[in-house]
């Protein structure tokens, strides 16, 4: 019997049934600008300059980020803090801060180099500037505002809620490898967010319930945090080797 159904002639038509069934199935395409996929946990998007919880700028103008930048896209000039109205808690502050996004390769080395966690990368990467002036982000564009939220520029596409993920640094430098540092936040507070919780470690019973192959924003959606704020379809991101 199986020799009949496996014959060349029959299997030729079986192929037609396989494709013929597909139109009734759900589509795999995301309608991109309207419908966005959850972003990977450690995505490197555009930079933000953070502030402390009291509103002081974290940048001290040390230029380490500019020094480490392999694309030479960062330009920093430090200046002494004015004694009567200091901008940052230290001696100096970032007086000029420019990032040329035509050159930036989003390697995150500036974030690693920064001694005060002043510069971090957000998950927002969808910007379509049309001129050099727009491509070079100055302090006015990079610095978070009085609520600790990054500024949205006219050519940037992000939805309400996307800016929650600004401080990718927090997650990127989580001490997941060292058992004694697990669950201990090793970073300072941020304006608008306070001290961000550490990335879930391996022995965290809560984290064990969350499958390893899902996105952080999926967890947030499941927790009800992002519901109704622009994320229409959230699906687990399958990674090779992962799986429930």
């Amino acid at each position: 019997m199986s020799s009949i159904t496996d014959s060349k002639f029959i299997s030729f038509f079986k192929g037609f049934f396989v494709t013929g069934k597909q139109p009734a199935k759900p589509k795999v395409t995301f309608q991109y600008p309207e419908e966005k996929r959850p972003k990977p946990e450690r995505l490197h998007g555009r930079h933000v300059l953070n502030r402390y919880e009291d509103g002081m700028e974290k940048c001290i103008g040390c230029e380490l980020c500019a020094g480490v930048c392999p694309a030479r896209c960062i330009y920093v000039r430090g200046a002494d803090n004015p004694p009567d109205a200091p901008v940052s808690p230290g001696e100096r502050y970032g007086f000029v801060y420019e990032i040329n996004f035509l050159r930036c390769i989003h390697c995150d080395l500036c974030v690693e180099a920064c001694p005060t966690e002043a510069i971090t990368e957000s998950k927002m990467f969808e910007f379509s500037f049309t001129s050099r002036e727009q491509a070079i982000y100055t302090k006015a564009e990079l610095l978070v505002d009085d609520d600790g939220r990054p500024k949205q520029l006219p050519w940037e596409d992000w939805r309400p809620g996307d800016d929650k993920n600004t401080s990718a640094w927090v997650r990127a430098t989580s001490p997941s490898g060292r058992a004694d540092l697990e669950g201990v936040p090793l970073w300072s507070g941020e304006l608008g967010y306070g001290v961000r919780p550490p990335q879930a470690g391996q022995s965290d019973p809560e984290a064990a319930d969350v499958p390893a192959d899902t996105d952080i924003s999926l967890r947030e959606v499941e927790a009800g945090e992002l519901r109704g704020v622009g994320v229409r379809a959230v699906r687990p991101v399958r990674r090779p080797g992962g799986g429930r």
């Binding site: 037609f16 494709t19 013929g20 597909q22 589509k27 795999v28 309608q31």
Partner: protein
């Protein structure tokens, strides 16, 4: 038996010419000409979208859905974009032939569509005319002629480009088209034998009435219809017979050097041929504008049937992988041509009496067994020779 010649002599042409050619006849013919051209052009624009949408749905995608309502203006936008691009001519190209080739592939398709009947007759202001641009005596031969001539468009395009990939693509195309022309012609001949006329309107009229069983697809026992379908797919170099434009091997095929209007014309010709040949499939085998019920809405039936046939094309494209060249030639020469010959014999004998039909069937089966044995022996010999060559020091 006078199978072909008897009927056409008595079969009337378009009744509009019955009372001489007056101004009214001129007006009607010009209107029909423009309408036919408009139909084929709109059909092409529609078909491009229809195919892209259908093939997307068969692959779990949405297809183009940005330009216009639900994306249905995408092909129009593509066309406008193409016509505003620069028309490049390669330096070594034969300029005249290079420019003429797209036209040579476009015109036969348009000519062929003019004999497709999309309805019975209409009467306007006392003039009764058929719903087809032309109803010549040689009728369906025009379709075979058109498909033969369109080989030249492809061949000349590949040759005049002075580039190797287009040339290889064109050589493949011409060999493929000529191979399948035989099977195509023989399956059309089956229908002609059944009808006793070359007029497309007569072929349609013979299939009229009743519920489906008058259609040639049943009267010719199905196989010629299948052969015709496969043959025109190969004739148009549609997938799975699109070795002509195998991207992995030929970087695009015979139209690789073309841009702008030349490329657009090839594209138009390809899809116009698709629509026209589907229309011919409906005309020859599926009863043309005849439906199982409501015989008065002929053109609507026609459109529905053409859409169904077009969907099968797209479905096949989404399903079947491309054939290898030897598989293509095997299918054409060793299977389709003998099968269509046998079906022509059987149908013709069946027109005389059922005894003759059975005799032809038996003879065909015997011939098939012989042929299968011959192919087997030949292949074994070829393989043995190949092994000997491999093993030779």
């Amino acid at each position: 038996m006078n199978l072909v010649a008897a009927a056409p002599a008595s079969y009337p042409g378009d009744p509009v010419f019955a009372h001489g050619i007056t101004l009214g006849v001129w007006v009607i013919e010009v209107v029909k000409l423009i309408a036919t051209f408009a139909i084929i052009m709109v059909a092409v624009l529609f078909m491009v979208m229809y195919e892209r949408k259908a093939v997307a749905y068969l692959g779990n995608r949405w297809g183009p859905n940005r330009a216009g309502p639900k994306g249905w203006l995408q092909s129009l936008a593509d066309g406008i974009k193409l016509f505003f691009k620069e028309a490049l001519v390669p330096a070594d190209a034969d300029k005249f032939v290079y420019r003429a080739a797209p036209v040579i592939s476009m015109v036969p398709v348009l000519v062929a569509f003019s004999i497709v009947p999309i309805g019975a007759t209409v009467t306007v202001d006392g003039y009764t005319t058929r719903l087809q641009l032309a109803d010549p005596q040689w009728g369906i031969l025009l379709m075979l002629l058109a498909s033969s001539v369109s080989v030249y468009g492809v061949m000349l395009a590949g040759w005049s480009s002075a580039s190797k990939y287009p040339l290889i693509g064109a050589v493949r195309a011409s060999a493929q088209m000529i191979s399948y022309e035989a099977a195509l012609g023989l399956s059309v001949a089956t229908v002609v034998v059944l009808t006793g006329s070359l007029h497309t309107s007569a072929i349609v009229a013979a299939q009229h009435g009743g519920i489906l069983y008058h259609w040639n697809v049943f009267r010719a026992y199905g196989l010629p219809a299948a052969i015709f379908f496969v043959a025109i797919t190969a004739e148009m170099t549609r997938p799975p017979f699109d070795l002509v434009e195998a991207e992995e091997e030929l970087a695009g095929g015979y139209n690789m050097e073309y841009s702008s209007i030349g490329f657009a014309l090839f594209y138009l010709a390809e899809y116009a041929a698709l629509v026209t040949n589907s229309a011919f499939f409906v005309t020859l085998f599926l009863g043309g504008p005849d439906g199982p019920y409501w015989h008065t809405i002929g053109p609507l039936w026609f459109v529905v049937k053409v859409l169904a046939v077009l969907y099968v094309y797209v479905w096949a494209r989404a399903t079947l992988p491309r054939l290898r060249y030897d598989q293509l030639m095997d299918l054409g020469w060793k299977r389709l041509i003998p099968a269509s010959l046998a079906m022509l014999l059987i149908v013709a004998a069946g027109r005389i009496s059922w005894r003759w039909g059975l005799a032809a069937l038996a003879g065909s089966l015997f011939a098939f067994i012989l042929l299968a044995r011959a192919i087997e022996v030949g292949q074994a010999q070829t393989e043995a020779e190949a092994t000997r060559e491999l093993e030779a020091p």
